[in-house]
Symmetry: C2
Subunit: 256 residues, 2 copies
Amino acid sequence: MKTLSLIALLACPLAVRAAIHTETVEYKHGDVTLEGHLVYDDANRTTRPAVLISHQWKGLSDYEKKRAEMLAKLGYVVFAVDIYGKGIRPEDAGSASAEAGKYKNNRALLRARVNAGLETLRKQKFVDPKRIAAIGYCFGGTTVLELARSGADLAGVVSFHGALDSPNPADGSNIKCKVLALHGADDPFVPDTEVAAFEAEMRAGGVDWQLIKYGGAVHSFTDWNADGSMKGAKYDKLADYRSWEDMKQFFAELFK
Amino acid sequence: MKTLSLIALLACPLAVRAAIHTETVEYKHGDVTLEGHLVYDDANRTTRPAVLISHQWKGLSDYEKKRAEMLAKLGYVVFAVDIYGKGIRPEDAGSASAEAGKYKNNRALLRARVNAGLETLRKQKFVDPKRIAAIGYCFGGTTVLELARSGADLAGVVSFHGALDSPNPADGSNIKCKVLALHGADDPFVPDTEVAAFEAEMRAGGVDWQLIKYGGAVHSFTDWNADGSMKGAKYDKLADYRSWEDMKQFFAELFK
């Protein structure tokens, strides 16, 4: 057995070295307390690129925490932010929709909340403040697009099956970072008219943008908890795999 | 100098081993003689995946030959096919348009010509006949889509700034391989209505498809000879880089 362990050590030096640190981080937006989730490889002591993750409509959950761990293992400092506030984690679709609606109907508040998360991430240990990207799923996709539209100083944002609409399309011209929208081609919650309006916004704003459509994929295609019980939203293993690879390629370009 | 050479040999064993073989291959479609260009790394003696390249409207040129070399260096056996026939290489836009038009208006002939190239590739040394992809640029993008629509036995096809239209959208249901369409979002030669019709064809045919739109890119975005003298067609270094990476990722999935 000793020989085998030695072989394993020699064969997988990176895997053996990894020591994933996770930490609950409380931070503030005005008087509101937010509770995010910080993850990084503690065996790596160097300054490095960072990724902000913005959550789906039920708030920061194990799903985003798992994505944070996956990204930390790729070498990033990762912060899964909290838009709703500490303890606000709606459990059913009705209350999740109502909570998300507060922010979708108040984009200024949504931008302020996600920017509070970005500034918290920027100050964390090992973070290169000039090399930060943001990703988001579903409601979180909309959130990181609003982060970009706020003119935030970022390298890039990635929306996974996020709504692409904007009440103020002229704000596209505020965007300074690169934008990648990953879209299920059969997503009934993000119809073609909305996709077309997004493209028009990006074009008019002079943004460096890309859009990828995954044939056959519907809403929530990356969410392994989406079992199809909600019509039009279902996990798609292939689209999940492809979109993760597409994100990695985007990051490789941003952080090369 | 001897020491330096030894260091170079030790540091770059793969680069030093590579021996790119190029060969003009004559083949037939009926009575018509076609002249393709075969490229592979001769230092690699193993059976491996292969890539067919289909040319732009001016016929098989140094552009496609360079792409073939680039792909051969990635480890593929590559065959740049000839659709028009030996010696038919229109030099100006007018004659190129007329020549391409013969095939765009006769999709059965186009399919037969590209299938002749595929069968020629399939028989080449080192080719794994079960692991073949096809890519095409501009008119060649249309060509490889028609190859897919013919029901050819392939792993996948990639269209770079190809026209996406089909006179017989029902043929989408013949497609057995994966399809990746790489599209300049501002390409005036492939308008949004054509993109939407392509998506509808893929959807109705139950195809495994993906579409990537590169913001700001127009027609010919990969063609380093497109200097912008033709309105709506221009090389775009960033979209060229991205689309090449997207193709590589697609191949990694096809041939893993």
